[in-house]
Symmetry: C2
Subunit: 394 residues, 2 copies
């Protein structure tokens, strides 16, 4: 039914599964973690470094590339793959999130739009939401732009994305049931317009994912999913509006529940999540795709992942520590550098600090995904998950 | 006589020559360009990237590494080579220049100490010079330190440098004959103390270079060189106090003249120079070693070298330019990226901009050195120089 996605192995004692997604730029294995390449580059990484450490697909940001250097320019340059020299698959977000979170760290996916209200036309600090779309000011030059579902799809098509995302309305947190429903209804209208635009234009053999909204309300998540399913032509389903400030257990419950709504033969994508424990936990719910800036952004801030958690490399205890970040890690950084050296680079604000730290953290995430796949093959995912969560909290 | 240095080919129609310098960490070919690794890293470069593009020796900064992370720490970590994962030779400067240029860009070698006067004890903004040495304030935490010839050698030894430099007094520009002589006399005393310290301690099979000072006065350059030669135990001679703000032709004349003083069987090192045309010109004077931050610092500022000069990548004319920086260049950057993409990265202040631009500029310098060596082998250095200078000025 969905040649795009094929389950290659289903755990017997968990909802975790292995799958394959076939895109115009190659086949990817799931579960998968997508490094974030906001501005046409995964920060500090050469594409060949990404490929060497096993990255299979990366995420590009529609909002940022639309504003700079512009999607038309990238299209003329042969598309985003050629422009940034990444030959593998690319998923683009829709810009729906970013148009609300302007003026913040472009990589910050937390706590956006806390000043929003949910009247039919509501205003955030820099964005104004109407039925037509979102008026927003560029964070670069202050110019006003209007982002619509149609424009978002046009941009993603110009970029040449392999997987496109619908344009949706990001429900703020916290929000009442009534506010959340209003936001969800808008999302459903915009998602349908995204689908119409996607099917009306020349989208080749690209694929469009829907986004299930509904905030913190399971009944709205269910209704939203069912109405999206009725639209009938999506290649996969994402879960939006999670990891926006709610308690972690509530996030897990909603990911678990929403994941259970989506039939097995569709890929499930949990957007913007998360920490290693989140990935390990949510793969158990049958979730297949993840993206997050944590490994890259936190690398630049000196938070480095280890087999039993993470360390802050700036701490004085590492000043003369000759060990690598993680003695069990085989990444380029751990094979060649001590904590003492990495601490020095971090304190000296050297560019190589970002390079070596990002290399390590992304390798950690991609290796964690490989470990999860191995556990699924061995039909011991629940044991793997238990051991992992115990180890990092010990 | 000097097993350390061997001339392997002498041009018949120029003073340009090929040589070999044997160090504890390998043999290097001269003429050679040394990328600058100020804080224990050539900015934005992995050491394997440097090796791949043909870097044979790098320069480390005594001043910076003394202040952070400290030479004792690096020594305990096994020395600078191991600490920074660079297996090849390292030359360290003495810190003599940096103690006067604090509070400026650590890579800025231009225009230091213009506020200096040359009384027996003179004071710059952050440094106070006495016969004993230089009192200076750390640019990191404001603490006062005293740098002496003895301490400089001790630091360089702790770092494990293959080639050490004497601690000298950097003559400001401009300076009168009397001021320059006073500064030169101080340099000679400090260089002799450096030599005593070097020979008194355990310096293994390391080598110490003297620095010929004398400002803009050929007669002082001559006297300085002769008195250094009488000290008798240096492995090579550097020219200091050039490219400090004087007209370029004056720099050339002094490099030419000072180079002619140094016997053929010693390596000649022109410190802190320079632009590509400077290297091509000064190799013709029989100069063998160069270091400069221009390729790395200017890369980060978007100045990229090409076969006929350079471009500023931020210019609007490159917005949709699909060509590489230089169509004749075979570096990783030019094989994979367009000017349009590099301009985008530069404007977006992406880390990868520094990585790709530094890769290209260093490759350009190292390739230029290879071209010079080829011309020397073919006994056509004068023609090579003429063609090069005509091409970049056209």
């Amino acid at each position: 039914m969905h040649r795009f996605f094929k389950i290659t192995r289903q755990s017997q004692n968990s909802r975790a599964r292995l799958g394959e997604i076939t895109t115009p730029h190659g086949v990817i294995q799931t579960p998968v973690f997508m490094p974030v390449g906001t501005q046409g580059t995964v920060k500090a990484m050469r594409p060949d470094e990404l490929a060497q450490m096993g990255a299979e697909i990366i995420l590009g940001n529609t909002y940022h590339l639309y504003l700079r250097p512009g999607h038309e320019l990238i299209k003329k340059q042969g598309g985003l793959h050629k422009f940034m020299n990444w030959p593998g698959p690319i998923l683009t977000d829709s810009g729906g999130y970013q148009v609300f979170s302007l003026g913040k760290d472009p990589e910050d996916r937390q706590g956006a739009r806390s000043d929003a209200n949910l009247n039919s036309t509501r205003t955030t600090k820099l964005a104004r939401i109407t039925e037509e779309g979102v008026y927003f000011q560029s964070h670069i030059d202050g110019q006003e732009h209007l982002m619509t579902p149609e424009l978002s799809i046009e941009i993603q098509r110009a970029l040449g994305a392999d997987i496109l995302m619908v344009f949706d309305d990001c429900t703020p947190y916290p929000a009442t049931l009534g506010e959340t429903r209003k936001s969800m209804e808008r999302s459903l209208k915009w998602e349908e317009r995204s689908l119409v635009e996607f099917r009306g234009g020349d989208s080749g053999n690209k694929n469009l994912f829907a986004i299930v909204q509904g905030g913190m309300y399971p009944e709205l998540r269910k209704e939203c999913f069912e109405r999206l399913m009725e639209m009938g032509k999506f290649s996969g389903f994402a879960m939006g509006g999670l990891s926006v400030g709610e308690p972690i257990n509530q996030m897990y419950e909603l990911a678990d529940y929403t994941g259970s709504l989506i039939p097995n033969d569709y890929p499930r994508y949990l957007m913007g999540v998360g920490m290693p424990a989140d990935l390990v936990t949510c793969v158990d719910y049958g979730i297949d795709l993840f993206d997050c800036v944590i490994p890259t952004r936190n690398a630049r801030n000196g938070m480095l992942f280890t087999v039993d958690g993470f360390i802050y490399i700036k701490q004085a205890q590492f000043a003369e520590d000759e060990r690598p970040i993680d003695p069990s890690c085989v990444c380029y950084t751990c094979r060649n550098y001590s904590r003492a050296y990495l601490r020095h680079l971090h304190l000296a604000k050297e560019l190589l600090s970002s390079v070596l730290s990002t290399l390590h953290n992304l390798h950690y995430y991609l290796n964690l995904i490989r470990d999860m796949r191995t556990a699924i093959v061995a039909d011991r995912y629940p044991e793997f998950k238990k051991e992992f969560l115990e180890r990092i909290s010990s």
